[in-house]
């Protein structure tokens, strides 16, 4: 008793030793990300006028706007089709389930250029899906739709995997109780399961939105135009060098960081 009251700090440290060690190990990775991006942001402060130029340049703003809005569109599509699939995968066991799970995760594994080439082959005007769409007057390649499709392909595993984990955490007994009290399956899903899994689903949606914004290679092949932010940055880098591409990168990172933090705060507020 006496000892503890005399040295509360040390004692606490001893008790939580594992946390201290793990914190330091983890900080290596945090520092890795922080130094990389911090260095870029810091170096941009030396050339502040260029950042202002970028922030007032219509081409740049349009590209960033395209990236953010197309990523939202692809996340919404992933949400609409992905949440039902995630619920199904969380609740049902059936032969061949691992095959479906594997297919969903393929976009995580293949190099993005390959994804772009594959998507182009399917969605170009003579492709399996592109040809019938073209007859309806819908063009995918080098169009807004192309950006959404390339992003959707790359981001859907993040949403589905996270949402499935969220649904798994919801105790099926809760659903059973609700149903035994007379709620329909639909109502149970709407009022019990979905709200309980929502934090995970939201988290998955944020991840998938972030992944969609950052997609470069697949978009490059499927829809170089209209020019989205990563493509503009790459074009600037190859033709004018780092100094020209950095302000746009810094602007994109800053905007995305603000949106990310806001979304995370929203998520916490809900909890």
């Amino acid at each position: 008793m006496k000892l503890r009251s005399r040295l509360p700090g040390t004692e606490k440290l001893k008790r939580e030793k594992i946390y201290v060690i793990f914190l330091f190990l983890g900080l290596v990775l945090v520092a890795f990300v922080f130094i990389t991006l911090g260095n870029m942001l810091y170096r941009q402060t030396e050339d502040f006028p260029a950042l202002i130029d970028a922030a007032t340049n219509l081409v740049v703003l349009k590209a960033i706007g395209i990236s953010i809005s197309m990523a939202m569109a692809s996340t919404l599509i992933a949400f609409f089709f992905g949440v039902p699939l995630a619920y199904f995968l969380a609740r049902k066991d059936f032969p061949g389930k691992s095959i479906i799970e594997g297919i969903v995760d393929i976009p995580l594994m293949i190099p993005h250029v390959i994804a772009g080439i594959a998507l182009y082959g399917v969605f170009m005007r003579y492709g399996v899906i592109g040809a019938p769409l073209k007859r309806l007057g819908i063009v995918i390649t080098d169009a807004y739709l192309g950006i959404v499709i390339a992003m959707l392909f790359m981001c859907l595993p993040y949403l589905i995997d996270t949402a499935r984990a969220g649904f798994k955490e919801v105790d099926p007994r809760l659903e059973n109780v609700a149903r035994s009290l007379g709620a329909s399956h639909w109502r149970t899903f709407r009022e019990i399961t979905f709200p309980l899994a929502f934090p995970s689903i939201l988290s998955g949606a944020i991840l998938s939105w972030g992944r969609a914004i950052s997609e470069f290679s697949a978009v490059l092949i499927l829809a170089y135009h209209p020019i989205s932010a990563p493509i503009l940055i790459y074009e600037k880098f190859t033709s004018f060098g780092l100094a020209a591409s950095r302000p746009i990168s810094v602007l994109l990172i800053s905007i995305c960081l603000v949106i990310f933090i806001l979304l995370r705060m929203l998520q916490k507020g809900r909890k």
């Binding site: 260029a50 130029d53 970028a54 340049n57 081409v59 740049v60 182009y120 082959g121 170009m124 005007r125 003579y126 063009v139 390649t141 080098d142 169009a143 170089y224 135009h225 209209p226 020019i227 074009e235 600037k236 190859t238 033709s239 004018f240 060098g241 100094a243 020209a244 302000p247």
Partner: protein
């Protein structure tokens, strides 16, 4: 424990073996270079494919000579010799005028024009729309048709792109159809053109070219377009002949008057100029390759030997096979060495072979006083 020892021992043996092999290879390479005489070749990137083949054939004929190629941009290649001070036996440039303008008289006093390239309209015979109808006379009509998508590379990033735009404007003058550039470029992109005095034109390519992608596509490099034409996503793409030939694409062979291949039409080509977004003005001119032996060569006689090979029968065949049309016979200019005179047609002795006043003909920088952040 025993097992661990074996692993350690094995690793040690492996490391020793690697060190020995590396050392032996290193030693062999030193001894090798001491025996073989080297011919150092600085050349433009677009000559990499034919010169690689020329190198292997030349080395097979001359086992004691080692050809070492360095592939960089034409201007950088010249600067390797004039500014960096490297010794080279051969310099081959994608723009022959660089030799007299940047190397005369200190680093070279002759050159040979030995091959040309030109702009063609590449397509896919099976998938490109109206591919069975297209000819050198009607290609611009076909590009105008509904549903046809054509492409060129970004003029701000790739010389093939600005050359394609020059070809389209030259086509207006050549075919006497004032709407070609308007219909194909002005109506579908943010690129502009203004008529200057004396029948010359200035094309300006903004940063955001806003292509109407249902009609025209613009990608950074012309070689990227090849894949899209092969897949059928694009109908027609402006390419160098060498690229089309090396990728086995079919192409429309555009008339000499507009395809930027002939020195004879240099006065016509230069009617079109183009200003890129970073305010560089390019003038239309023939794509003619030049070669010389710099004065600072350590083995000039070997350099001449390689030049003779490149412009000789075997070299001509190599270049013809790869779409870089050889000039037969090659045209020599300046104070030509005796060994070459039998192989080339000697240009009439003018005091200066090319009347190019600018020091850097490929990209004459008209740097404006207002500093503009590149690309922003």
């Amino acid at each position: 424990m025993e097992r661990r020892k074996i692993v350690v021992l094995g690793t040690l043996i492996a490391i020793t073996a690697i060190v020995c092999v590396t050392a032996a290879a290193f030693y062999a390479s030193i001894v090798g270079t001491e025996q073989a005489k080297t011919v150092k070749v600085f050349h433009a990137g677009s000559l990499a494919v034919p010169l690689a083949e020329a190198e292997s054939q030349f080395e097979a004929l001359n086992p004691n000579i080692d050809v070492q190629r360095e592939s960089i941009g034409s201007i950088s290649a010249v600067r390797q010799i004039t500014d960096v001070g490297k010794n080279g036996e051969v310099l081959a440039s994608a723009d022959y005028t660089l030799i007299p303008s940047m190397m005369y008289p200190e680093y070279a006093d002759w050159y040979v024009r030995f091959a040309t390239n030109d702009i063609v309209l590449a397509y896919n015979p099976e998938l490109s729309m109206y591919a069975d109808e297209i000819t050198p006379e009607n290609w611009y009509e076909i590009l105008r048709r509904d549903g046809v998508i054509f492409a060129f590379s970004n003029p701000n990033l790739d010389p093939c792109g600005y050359r394609a735009l020059m070809v389209l404007q030259l086509a207006e003058l050549h075919y006497g159809d004032e709407q070609i550039f308007d219909d194909l470029i002005l109506d579908n992109t943010g690129i502009t053109i203004t008529k200057e005095g004396e029948g010359t034109y200035l094309i300006k390519t903004p940063e955001d070219q806003k292509p109407n992608t249902e009609k025209v596509d613009i990608r950074p490099k012309s070689v990227e377009l090849v894949a899209f034409v092969e897949e059928g996503g694009l109908d027609y793409a402006f390419e160098y002949r060498s690229v089309a030939v090396q990728h086995n694409l079919a192409f429309v062979d555009l008339p000499e008057q507009i395809d930027l291949s002939k020195v004879e039409y240099a006065d016509f080509y230069k009617k079109v100029k183009l200003e890129t977004v970073d305010r560089n003005t390019k003038t239309g001119k023939p794509i003619v390759y030049g070669i010389t032996v710099p004065k600072n060569a350590q083995n000039p006689e070997l350099g001449l030997e390689f030049v003779r090979f490149v412009i000789g029968d075997a070299g001509q065949e190599i270049f013809a096979d790869r779409g870089q049309t050889p000039i037969v016979p090659a045209v020599g200019s300046g104070n030509l060495p005796e060994e070459l005179k039998s192989l080339v047609y000697v240009e009439s002795a003018k005091p200066k072979p090319t009347p190019t006043p600018s020091p850097e003909p490929t990209s004459t920088s008209t740097s404006t006083p207002t500093p503009k952040t590149p690309g922003l």
